[in-house]
């Protein structure tokens, strides 16, 4: 176990890296905003974090697993390439920026630009599951992968997502549960019913969410889900004319 306290991130990350050369699991306690924890962590390695990890936690995550007992700051899972992140709390801005594979489960809220520019490639299909709600620009530039947003424990007047949702989205899918603010959706988005494959996919993610955070699967699934997809995969096809 490593006590982070108020020490610099370089030191702590060096300690974590060296600990993980001989062990597969590392617990870090009393984390106070130290950055880059779990940066490029490889498959088979796990880090458990207690406290509030700083920006760019799990950036370039490379198959490793990170569990956070607390809230996260900005750019969680930045440019992540695979692995799993489980956050027992909230997450800051630009979470999952450019993520290509792997799964992120956030128990509560996600701030602005969650899942921005998520993409997919062959069998790499990133997944982002948000328990409560998300800020503006959720799924901006989204090019692939899946976002699930459950709207659990919303207070009266709170919306499922903020403005400009899925702006510039040209791939992937967002599953939304219950009522959602249609006025916050961008123009190029279609609302569809889930097909059988979607249902199967969604259930698998919800099951995991419930397992991680102790929610009741039947209750979560009792509300209807809808799928948000881009109306065209080429929203900017006619933007340019050769001069």
């Amino acid at each position: 176990m490593i006590e982070a306290g108020l020490r610099r991130y370089e030191k702590i990350n060096d300690e974590i890296k060296s600990f993980l050369t001989k062990n597969n699991k590392c617990t870090v306690k009393d984390v106070n905003g130290q950055r880059y924890i779990g940066c490029a962590l490889d498959e088979g390695k796990t880090i458990e974090i207690y406290g509030t990890p700083g920006n760019d936690m799990a950036c370039y995550l490379n198959g490793g697993k990170i569990i956070v007992y607390g809230n996260c700051q900005d750019a969680v899972g930045n440019t992540m390439n695979g692995g799993e992140i489980i956050v027992h709390g909230h997450s800051g801005d630009a979470m999952g920026y450019g993520m290509r594979d792997g799964q992120i489960y956030i128990k509560d809220k996600v701030a602005c630009r969650g899942g921005i520019h998520m993409k997919e490639f062959r069998d790499m299909r990133p997944v982002l599951v948000i328990g409560q709600n998300a800020g503006s620009f959720l799924g901006e530039y989204m090019a692939g992968g899946t976002i699930v947003i459950l709207g659990l424990n919303l207070k009266r007047g709170e919306k499922l997502f903020g403005t400009h949702c899925a702006s510039g989205m040209h791939g992937g899918r967002i599953f939304v549960r219950g009522s959602f603010p249609k006025e916050n959706l961008s123009d190029n988005i279609k609302i569809e019913k889930l097909n059988k494959d979607d249902e199967k996919e969604l259930k698998a993610y919800v099951k995991k969410y419930c397992k991680y955070f102790g929610a009741d699967f039947e209750t979560v699934m009792s509300k209807p889900f809808r799928k948000l997809v881009p109306a065209t995969s080429r929203p900017y096809a006619n933007l340019y004319t050769p001069n």
Binding site: R35, D56, Y60, D74, E120
Partner: protein, 500 residues
């Protein structure tokens, strides 16, 4: 017909020479040539001609020639045919104008207004053919001071350094914007020449993974192809904030160009648009830039220098200083004449400033702040010849990036239509029937020839100045004189006028 735009060129066929072999028909991807079966003759429709000279070059009997097509408009210095035609184009389509290659407008080119010095009598000139001449260039962060123990060994741990055998590097051109054969040629030439090529934001194709030691890998806003393996298989990492040809604008590789191979390198599905947003969405301040720089250092255990590439814009000096203080080991400044595979015309032609002024201003600012010696400064944005490079180094650059020059070496004729994806020379295209025209080994040889020739010219110019190491030329503005420049221009360039 409303919407008519006169063609730009006419292909002239000398029917006395033409054997109607049809070679030009198969060479032109723009479909200018066709065979009339009835008459058994090759015909030409010049409307699509871009003056790439492929047919002219390939015609076995030299029967073809290209001429500017002139359809006169009434003289008007303000409403030139160009502006009128662009309006017609936009009225036809409702779209943004898109151009390729660098800014072609007649803005001042300061390289042509700067003269170099040579030694006479005192401090004699040096002959590089017979005396050692050092152009080896070392990039990377340098410590503020070095502690030396009694026996003379350094106690200071040096940050990672990049040793280049020439001050000339190949700037970012992604696989996607250029063909794999073109990128291969650059990679192989970089290896032979002891320099680096730059992947651009296109990832590193599996075929080029073995060239990691000669690659700068780019991390741009779309994060295409960026993963741990990519970041660790390179000589240095370059964060692309801006590009001289389109400062403030992202990139957009249309789905048509994302074939199987491009999709593998970028790690996105085939046929999908590859959109690089204008900003990095994790950088909203200089502190955030620092965060990205250090995240890359964390991901590579601080074994790779990190460069930050910015476009030359107003306040460039302050921005360059900010990048250096944010932790960039190398700051790259890309001038507004820098090339591109595609950029909105209005941006390319109107945004940014010349590299000469930007470089001089940034170098001076970093010196004034006492941090110039801790980082490397790389200039980019149109070097046409070796003397441009010598002038840039004397203005303060550690090294220069070139891209258009090696493209011309491998066959490019500057037809400015890279964006159409129909490059007849197999460079700026992904069509297999066109890319196979570029032989990477031949192109490699031609690039090597060019850089070796420039290297020798640089040595010759340095020798003439009585300088035998490029380090003594760097920032040595006394070797420069301005000609026909205003006092303000001389002040910014930090040089005095010829005759002074």
């Amino acid at each position: 017909m409303i919407g008519y735009i006169p063609r730009k060129f006419t292909v002239i066929r000398d029917n006395d020479l033409c054997t109607n072999c049809g070679g030009c028909v198969s060479q032109c991807a723009n479909e200018c040539h066709s065979i009339n079966a009835e008459k058994n003759r090759v015909l030409t429709n010049s409307n699509n001609c871009v003056a790439c000279h492929r047919c002219v070059d390939m015609c076995p009997v030299s029967a073809l020639r290209i001429e500017k097509y002139i359809c006169d408009y009434r003289n008007n210095a303000n409403w030139t045919p160009e502006y009128q035609q662009e309006i017609v184009r936009q009225a036809n389509t409702g779209s943004t104008l898109l151009s390729a290659m660098g800014n072609p407008k007649p803005y001042p080119i300061y390289w042509d207004k700067i003269l170099l010095n040579a030694s006479q009598v005192t401090n004699p000139s040096i002959d590089p053919l017979r005396e050692p001449m050092e152009i080896r260039t070392i990039l990377g962060r340098k410590p503020d001071k070095i502690e030396i123990e009694k026996k003379g060994k350094s106690l200071t741990k040096m940050p990672p350094q990049i040793i280049l055998e020439t001050p000339i590097m190949f700037s970012a051109m992604s696989f996607g914007s250029i063909s794999l054969n073109a990128q291969k040629a650059l990679a192989m030439a970089a290896k032979e020449l002891g320099t680096i090529f730059n992947t651009g934001e296109g990832g590193l194709h599996p075929d080029l993974e073995s060239f990691g030691k000669y690659a700068a890998v780019q991390v741009a806003s779309g994060r295409f192809g960026v993963h741990k393996g990519y970041l660790n298989n390179c000589r240095f990492i370059e964060i692309k904030i801006g590009q001289g040809a389109k400062p403030g604008i992202g990139g957009h590789l249309p789905g048509e160009k994302v074939n199987v191979e491009v999709s593998n390198a970028r790690m996105i599905p085939e046929g999908s648009d590859a959109i690089s947003p204008a900003p990095h969405h994790d950088i909203y301040s200089i502190e955030d830039l620092r965060q990205l720089i250090w995240s890359l250092k964390q991901a590579t255990d601080a074994t790779k220098p990190v460069a930050v590439k910015i476009a030359a814009v107003h306040n460039i000096a302050a921005i360059a200083s900010g990048c250096a203080r944010a932790g960039a080991d190398i700051v790259v400044i890309d001038g507004f004449r820098g090339g591109t595979g595609a950029a909105p015309t209005r941006i390319r032609d109107n945004v940014g400033i010349p590299i000469e002024l930007a470089l001089a201003a940034a170098d001076q600012r970093l010196r004034d702040e006492g941090i110039r010696s801790t980082i490397s400064l790389v200039a980019s944005g149109s070097f046409r010849c070796s003397s441009d490079i010598v002038k840039a180094i004397a203005l303060g650059a550690d090294a220069c990036y070139v891209a258009s020059a090696p493209l011309i070496a491998m066959g490019c004729h500057m037809c400015h239509t890279c964006n159409t994806g129909k490059c007849n020379w197999g460079i700026a295209t992904q069509k297999p029937e066109l890319t196979k025209r570029l032989n990477p080994n031949m192109a490699q040889k031609r690039i090597e020839n060019l850089v070796n020739a420039w290297n020798h010219e640089i040595k010759e110019i340095m020798g003439g100045m009585g300088i035998n190491a490029i380090d003594s030329l760097r920032g040595n503005r006394l070797m420069l004189r301005g000609i026909g420049l205003t006092n303000k221009e001389l002040e910014i360039l930090g040089i005095i006028h010829a005759g002074e």
